[in-house]
């Protein structure tokens, strides 16, 4: 996000300077309050993850004894395995899903073929079906392919990327904003469509590529419901969400509550860092695409 200021209207009749100071101060205060509200849960999770005097839920926030025990404890569980699984799934999904979404949206943005409109309408209608129930059937397909339980990782990757073409909407919107005249000029110079994509369009599409990678990465990173459905019964195939959710069951919560918080911090860390650095592209991608489709 560039720091270009957005001109918000000012009242003209009051003393210009005084009114500006008052309104700016109050907005600063408002933003500070909002920030505090937004941060409370995260600060609580962070603080709880450093509590070492007990491992169950308590009614206070600030630990009585501080330490890294909970983080050390994570290493004794299957957490590293789950973390690795999640990382593999999320990275693969990010790469392949981006590839597929870009193929799909580029084709729908730049080509005018007979089935294009019906295809788009069909996918719009498909999207209106609640996907919840299809889990049962996807599980069966994966099970017959041998990609569940201990082998859930490839299975999850397959499912995440297979239907990702449906999410072409935002990036198609973005491609639509790139002038077609650029393509045509290149075509006149003898470039094939493939070359146009790689030499002209992609270099201009950095924000949308990063946006797609980011969203593709985050989906699997926090997915619980489907991951739980395909990886039950084996610790080796779980992702962090499923594994950590298991710590909140009645027989485990007393022993693992603070570990859950520590694990939560570990899970949140990479995405938070990614977001801090790539925020700018995310905004450009989403505004370029989301509202223009």
């Amino acid at each position: 996000m560039s720091e270009k200021d957005f001109a918000v209207p000012q009242k003209r009749h009051m003393g210009l300077k005084a009114s500006k100071i008052i309104s700016n101060t109050s907005i600063h205060i408002l933003l500070a309050v909002i920030s505090v509200i937004w941060l409370i849960p995260f600060v609580c999770i962070l603080l709880q993850s450093f509590r070492v005097e007990s491992t169950y839920q308590v009614g206070y926030v600030i630990p009585k004894q501080w330490g890294f025990d909970n983080y050390a404890n994570l290493l004794k569980t299957d957490f590293p395995r789950w973390y690795l699984n999640t990382l593999i799934v999320a990275l693969c999904a990010a790469v392949f899903q981006t590839f597929i979404v870009l193929c799909m949206s580029y084709a729908l943005s730049r080509f005018r073929f007979k089935m294009r409109k019906p295809l788009m309408r069909f996918m719009l209608i498909l999207g209106m079906f609640p996907g919840m129930l299809t889990m049962i059937i996807l599980y069966r397909v994966l099970a017959d392919l041998g990609m569940t339980q201990a082998n859930a990782v490839p299975g999850l990757i397959l499912v995440y990327i297979a239907s990702s073409g449906m999410g072409y909407y935002v990036s198609k919107g973005f491609f639509d904003t790139i002038p077609k005249s650029l393509d045509e000029a290149a075509r006149v110079d003898g470039a094939t469509r493939l070359q146009v994509l790689f030499k002209i369009i992609l270099p201009l599409s950095k924000p949308i590529v990063i946006y797609t990678i980011l969203t593709a990465f985050m989906g699997p990173w926090g997915d619980y419901v489907f991951a739980q459905y395909v990886s039950f019964g084996t610790s080796a195939g779980k992702n962090v969400a499923v594994g950590m959710y298991g710590w909140l069951t009645n027989d485990q919560i007393n022993k693992f509550y603070t570990s859950f918080c520590a694990g939560g911090v570990m899970v949140a860390l990479p995405v938070t860092v990614l977001f801090m650095f790539l925020q700018k592209y995310y905004v450009e991608g989403v505004t370029g695409g989301a509202v223009k489709g």
Binding site: M1, R110, A162, L194, V267, V291
Partner: protein, 517 residues
């Protein structure tokens, strides 16, 4: 009703304009259905004509075709091989071999079983064996026979495959026809090299779309068809099709069970109605609170003279970055009866033991709480999206407004809001339907609680349950009534489709996508 011309329409006041559009829409509904029926009829007619045309074409091609073309009717790709198009020929031939092999080895069985969904379920067999512990022992084993679930799944896949095969066969013949024509006219036939080149150039979209569409077909379309079919069976926990009883086709029975009003307030239909109403209320508030508050926050951060812009944004964006299963679960515990929020209020002396706030126990309060917590989640997204759009509003609009002496509020209502609504109309619609199916927030925060005691529907429906979470709970309940969940799924689709249709027709502008290029 009276129809206005464009000029008359422009002269109307704002409210009248809206009313007029509304009236137009509703008076258009009968017409819409009439057109729909006509369209369907003409589609059937077209289909009939197309089939007849295709059949005639097939016959003519065979009659007029060269020998390779005729052989291609039985041996796919033969014609292509003869004319040096080895790539196409190979693909056609491969398709035929795989198809025939599949149908003989497995497809025939699945297809044959599809009408009955299996003839024999599992059987328990008692065998008297020489026991490992000495002496004899009667051991019970199970012999598994047909599997309704697999029959339905692979039956549907086989149907897909047959359609794909017929299509390929037709393409194979059409290409032979074209080749015949080309040869007759003395031109050169496209070589395999030409085919390859075309795939990265003029037909590049085919290359691009092949993979994504295959994925969508197998992992989205097929499961949805399966789901729809399940609604017409009795697939549930006691008829799971494999390890206990087979399931069978039930016709429209399940829709009758779901939509039957005969038992009044305790009927499933009443529950469905209640959940639907709450789903709509939720979707409305979740969409618009986020939209307006998100825009407000974005404007505040973007205002000239505000410091740490990036800092504020980053803090808000944390809610996007941290997986919901962590943040929402934690927040849900914060608001519990003995959670941190109540403890804090008690420490402050604002409430006492007897007046703890029952965030998750009081139906109305629970509903309000989920909407408010959803604001906490939603604002950051909207803040990011609106930031970009706000910056796109031409600055000179504001300049001229200022010169005309418009107040800040007037500028907001006359410039900012209309612009935003115009640009974000479609987004609001998708976000509305998205919120109707917002599984995570409800499931992780309340799990649907507090329970709606009046309902006798399966899945212990609660006051904060959306249709989508209820549907999920039906499949998880003691009886796992998958067939009923499917019915709910289909009804959700109908509701979403109707709303989309209505809103699209009421949107200020149905934009032509070419405008943006």
């Amino acid at each position: 009703m009276t129809k206005y011309s464009d000029l008359e329409y422009l002269r109307l006041s704002k409210g009248d304009k809206f009313l007029y559009r509304l009236k137009c829409f509703f008076s258009g509904i009968p017409l819409f259905f009439k057109n729909l029926i006509l369209a369907i009829a003409s589609a059937f007619k077209k289909l009939g004509l197309a089939v007849a045309h295709e059949a005639a074409d097939l016959v003519n091609t065979f009659k007029n075709g060269s020998v390779p073309t005729r052989v291609s009717y039985a041996v796919m790709g033969f014609g292509s091989f003869c004319r040096g198009q080895w790539l196409r020929g190979l693909l056609f031939l491969l398709m035929e071999i795989i198809f025939i092999g599949y149908m003989i080895l497995a497809g025939g069985y699945w297809l044959g079983m599809l009408p009955s969904l299996g003839l024999q379920g599992p059987e328990q067999v008692a065998t008297t064996v020489t026991s490992l512990r000495g002496g004899t022992n009667t051991v019970y084993t199970t012999v598994y026979h047909d599997n309704s679930f697999r029959i339905l799944l692979y039956g549907v896949l086989t149907l897909f495959f047959i359609v794909a095969f017929i299509y390929t066969w037709r393409v194979n013949i059409r290409q032979n026809k074209i080749n015949d024509q080309i040869i007759r006219s003395g031109k050169k036939i496209k070589s395999a090299g030409d085919d390859m080149r075309s795939l990265v150039d003029n037909s590049f979209h085919k290359t691009l779309l092949a993979l994504p569409l295959t994925g969508i077909l197998i992992f989205t379309v097929m499961p949805i068809i399966f789901m729809i079919l399940v609604a017409f069976t009795n697939y549930d926990g006691t008829h799971n099709g494999f390890s206990n009883n087979l399931f069978h086709w039930m016709g429209l029975n399940n829709f009758n069970e779901m939509l039957n009003w005969s038992s009044g307030a305790t009927s499933y239909a009443a529950t469905f109605g209640e959940v639907l109403v709450w789903t709509l209320i939720w979707a409305f508030f979740a969409t618009f609170t986020n939209y307006f508050l998100g825009m407000l926050v974005a404007m505040a951060i973007n205002k000239k003279g505000i410091h740490f812009k990036k800092g504020w944004r980053t803090i808000l964006v944390l809610t996007i970055a941290i997986p919901q299963f962590i943040s929402l679960l934690y927040v849900s515990k914060m608001f519990a009866r003995s959670g941190i929020v109540n403890n804090f209020l008690m420490d402050m002396g604002w409430i006492d033991q007897a007046h703890l706030i029952k965030f998750w126990e009081d139906p109305t309060l629970a509903r309000i709480t989920v909407i408010i917590i959803n604001i906490w989640i939603g604002i950051p997204y909207l803040m990011l999206i609106t930031t970009g759009i706000l910056m796109n509003i031409p600055a000179d609009l504001y300049e001229s407004a200022k010169i005309d002496g418009a107040s800040a509020w007037q500028q907001y209502t006359k410039i900012t809001l209309p612009y935003m609504l115009f640009v974000m109309g479609p987004y609001l619609l998708t976000s509305f339907t998205g919120n109707m199916n917002n599984f995570n927030v409800i499931y992780l925060l309340t799990g649907g609680a507090p329970t709606n005691n009046a309902s006798s529907a399966p899945g212990t429906v609660g006051y904060t349950d959306l249709l989508i979470t209820w549907l999920f709970k039906i499949t998880q309940g003691a009886e796992s009534k998958y067939y009923l969940a499917s019915v709910v799924g289909i009804l959700v689709f109908v509701v979403v489709a109707v709303i989309s249709l209505v809103v699209y027709n009421l949107l200020p502008s149905i934009k032509n996508e070419e405008d943006f290029q």
